[in-house]
Structures are given as structure tokens and as C-alpha cells.
């Protein structure tokens, strides 16, 4: 589906980064919605996960990656990681002179558009939930919405173990989501790019009345708007190319990554950071 290198003459690429492979769900949606744009994806697999780490450390890592992507000639940056968006979006917008899109605002917008009774649940990593980034983004759009938030630190390792439909995962989900059911949410934001792989199981636990929001689609749409506003969009006849770069073991990235990208990855480069 995707080739490994940006060809000569290809448009300047969109830089997309994540702590690891989860952000490939966002890259997938960008590739689908913007078929003429080239993409460089960076997964910080040597330092994954960001979820339990401090805001300062996540900001430092995000800044290093953004600098690397800028060196690679990207025209904008998509932070395809909720924790990095929560901690580093403001910093990168201040320090980098290009459009920077995160996943939190698009996810919040999609949730506010989807809610029927005005009660939204948010799940994410410890870092994302502690930051309160979703609450702020949702309330900025609609101050009357009720929000129930909960960190779900075991979901990422369960997804990476491949246990997306396992009794243990169901047990963990029931415990994590009990406060959501009690609070009678009507919409749940999947505030971590790993969680879309748990959609069927989460839907089963929460029942058909709760809408599940993943921000990939809306983030890709916002990326398109940002490129258009800055006259940075690729020409309609441009030939896109894709590069995938990881800070650790390319083989592991290749193997796990296919599940997240929803298509074959032909080659992964390795780049040490930090």
C-alpha cells in the first residue's frame, strides 16, 4: 500500500509523530483523506510509553522529535499522540514556525458534536487525564457539558499484547468503565491512539447507546484545513510518498504497525534520538 521513501519532486511531507505505533491510526486517516500528501511518521519506540511520564519529560521528547522532523523538511506537524498533545502542543506552537495540529481539540470537537444528552466520558493515559486537556477543550466548546474522566493505564499494554478481545481485557474494561456507566455518559472519547483497536470490546461493555469517538478522522480533517489555510496543500496531481521512522527496533514497528495502519508498511528506518 505504501512505499518507503519520499521521491524527488514529491510535495513537502506532513510530519506525524507519536510515542510509538498508536499514532499510525491517525496517519492512516491522513493518508486516506489527503491522498496527495506525503507523510513522514516518527514513532519514539525507544522511549514509549509517554502516558505515565511527567509533562517536562514528554515536552522534551516532543521538542526533539519536532526538531528532527523539521530537519527532514516537513511543512507541518501532527502530534498523533494524546499525551504529547496534552503536554507539548502549546510549546511546539510557540517554538516551531509551522502549523501544529494535535489530537485533543479535534477529539473534543467530535465529542461535543456527537453528544445527545450532554454527558461525555473521557479515557486516556495517566498523563492525558491528569493534564485535564480534554476537559478544557470540551468546555471551551460547550461549558454546559458534563464530563467524567478516567485514566486506563492497562489498555495500552493489553492492546500491544494483542489481547483486544480477551476475557482479561473485558474484566479490566468493566472495572475502568464502571464510573462511566454509573454516570450514564452518552459519548466516550477514546483519548489515546491505541484505544480504537478496543472499539468492539468497549462497545460491548458500554452498550449500543454510547457513541465512541476516536479523533483520527477529525484530526485528519483539521490537518487538511490547516494546510489549506496556509496554502501548503499538495497539488491535486502530486505523487505522495511515505516514510516510517522509529527510534527503536524497526522489525517490531513493522510487525505491530500493520495492525494500526490498516495496511502494509514496506520499510522502516531507524533514528536514534536523545
Amino acid at each position: 500500500m505504501v512505499s518507503a521513501r519520499v521521491a524527488r519532486g514529491a510535495p513537502a511531507p506532513i510530519g506525524v509523530f507519536d510515542s510509538g505505533i498508536g499514532g499510525l491510526t491517525v496517519a492512516h486517516e491522513i493518508i486516506r483523506q489527503l491522498p496527495h500528501e506525503s507523510v513522514i511518521y516518527f514513532g519514539d519506540t525507544a522511549r514509549v510509553p509517554y502516558g505515565p511520564k511527567s509533562p517536562d519529560t514528554v515536552r522534551r521528547y516532543s521538542r526533539e522529535i519536532a526538531s528532527f522532523l523539521r530537519e527532514q523538511g516537513v511543512k507541518n506537524i501532527v502530534i498523533a499522540c494524546n499525551t504529547a498533545t496534552a503536554h507539548a502542543l502549546g510549546t511546539l506552537r510557540e517554538e516551531f514556525d509551522m502549523p501544529i495540529v494535535g489530537v485533543v481539540e479535534p477529539g473534543a470537537r467530535a465529542a461535543v458534536a456527537a453528544t445527545r444528552r450532554g454527558h461525555i466520558g473521557v479515557i486516556g493515559t495517566v498523563g492525558t487525564i491528569k493534564s485535564g486537556a480534554y476537559e478544557r477543550a470540551i468546555r471551551a466548546l460547550n461549558p454546559d457539558v458534563m464530563i467524567t474522566a478516567r485514566a486506563c493505564p492497562l489498555f495500552v499494554p493489553l492492546v500491544e499484547e494483542g489481547w483486544t478481545d480477551h476475557p482479561a481485557t473485558r474484566l479490566v474494561a468493566k472495572e475502568y468503565l464502571a464510573p462511566m456507566l454509573e454516570a450514564d455518559i452518552d459519548t466516550l472519547v477514546l483519548g489515546c491512539t491505541h484505544y480504537p483497536l478496543l472499539k468492539p470490546l468497549l462497545g460491548e461493555v458500554l452498550g449500543p447507546d454510547v457513541r465512541l469517538i476516536d479523533s483520527a478522522e477529525e484530526t485528519a480533517a483539521e490537518t487538511a484545513r490547516a494546510l489549506h489555510d496556509e496554502s501548503l496543500a499538495a497539488a491535486a496531481d502530486a505523487e505522495p510518498n511515505y516514510r516510517f521512522i522509529a527510534s527503536d527496533d524497526p522489525l517490531q514497528f513493522l510487525q505491530l504497525g500493520q495492525r494500526f495502519l490498516g495496511g502494509a508498511i514496506e520499510g522502516v528506518e531507524i533514528r536514534t534520538l536523545g
Copy 2:
């Protein structure tokens, strides 16, 4: 229980490091067995976990930490992390001119001493199990032992979530340990410094006939021997001091660390690496 800084005139400290807080179970045992030795503990909490990462990356991180500990004046180094021992023990022994003790050989020795029917199980991170380090160490001591090994990547996040006695953890343990029960092991090496916190639950799943080996005690004993052999042991009237250093958020280290050290930690310094 422990004070925060090495006092002037204290003996040169033992350097102990781990990817995070798990190695505090080893530091605890060193402090207990060697009450006159000072200790500097480094937890690489900014880059934890090492378990799923490649040997090259783990070696690079281990080398950086060992260099930092040498700068702090340690007289020897204890690698209190199974994954780092599996990937980096040989490298550090080559590159650092001081005694280096890992946790794999001591754990293997304890297991070979404990087994009655000669069938040992080994559990650990993906990195530790893939490396085959325990198999090699056990067979070097007794080539006739049968070994059943399995990676248990969910145990570390379950312990860090505090779910050491939770139905989900029991379900995960039953699945991970099923091959051990089938193979009829009589001894199980807990090949990750997080796992001792799961001892009661693992004992319940495996039954009373399986001995559980954690290498902390034997590693401390080997450290004592190494210091004695090199005439590096502290004087019998030396006043020990303890320093705890983390590469990320000291507060989190403090909170989680108490459970692993089995005692109060008075202060944690922060030091950025990499």
C-alpha cells in the same frame, strides 16, 4: 529508614540501577545484607520499560547510566534489572573497570539449588526471555535441567497499577502460567524485579509445590562476595548513606518506590540522561 545523601566521609557507594523502580527490591536486600555500605540507586523512569525494547537500545541506556554512576564515584555496579542484565552485562564488564554484578546469574544459581525434580520455569519481559540469558546461565550450572520459559509483558503494568491481588491479574497469570503447569515445573524464576510483588498471587495459581525464586537475595550475596574479593567492602564501623535518583518525576518514584523498597524513601533527585 534511609536518608537522602551520601555524607562526607561515607564509604564509596555501591551503584545500583534499573529501568525504573523494580530494582528497589534488590537495593532493599543489599541494604539489609550490607548495612555498612552506601548505595546510589538510579531508576531510568524517563525511558522505562526496557522489557519490550531492542538489545541495542537497552545497551545504550545501560552504558549511559553506568557512566553517570561512575561519575558519582561508585566502587561497583549492580544491574538490578533483568532485561539490562540480559542485554548489557557483558558490555559493561568489558567497558567498566569495576566489579559488575547482574541479577541473572544469581537467580539461575538460586533456581538450580532449589529445584528438586530438575524442571525450572522462567518468566520475564520479552527482552529477557528472547535473550535466552537465563537458559544459558542455568545450563552452565547444570546442563541436565529442563527449562520452560515465557514472557509475561502484562505483569509489569499490572504491578504498577497496584493490581497485585486483582481478578484480572489472576486471569492473566493463569494464562501466562498454563504452560508451566502443563510442563510440571517445580521451581519458577521470577525473572523481573517487579514480579516479587506478585508472589502471593503466583503462589496461589501454581500451588504450594512450586518454589518461587527472586534473585534479590542471591544478588546481594554475590555483591558482598565481589566487594570482598576486590577488597572494596566498607569498614565495619562505616556510616552508610543512600541516594535515590530518577530520570523522570521524583514524586512518582517516591510514591511507587516505597512499595518496592519496603521502607520510606526520604528524597529523590532528578537527573536527565540521553
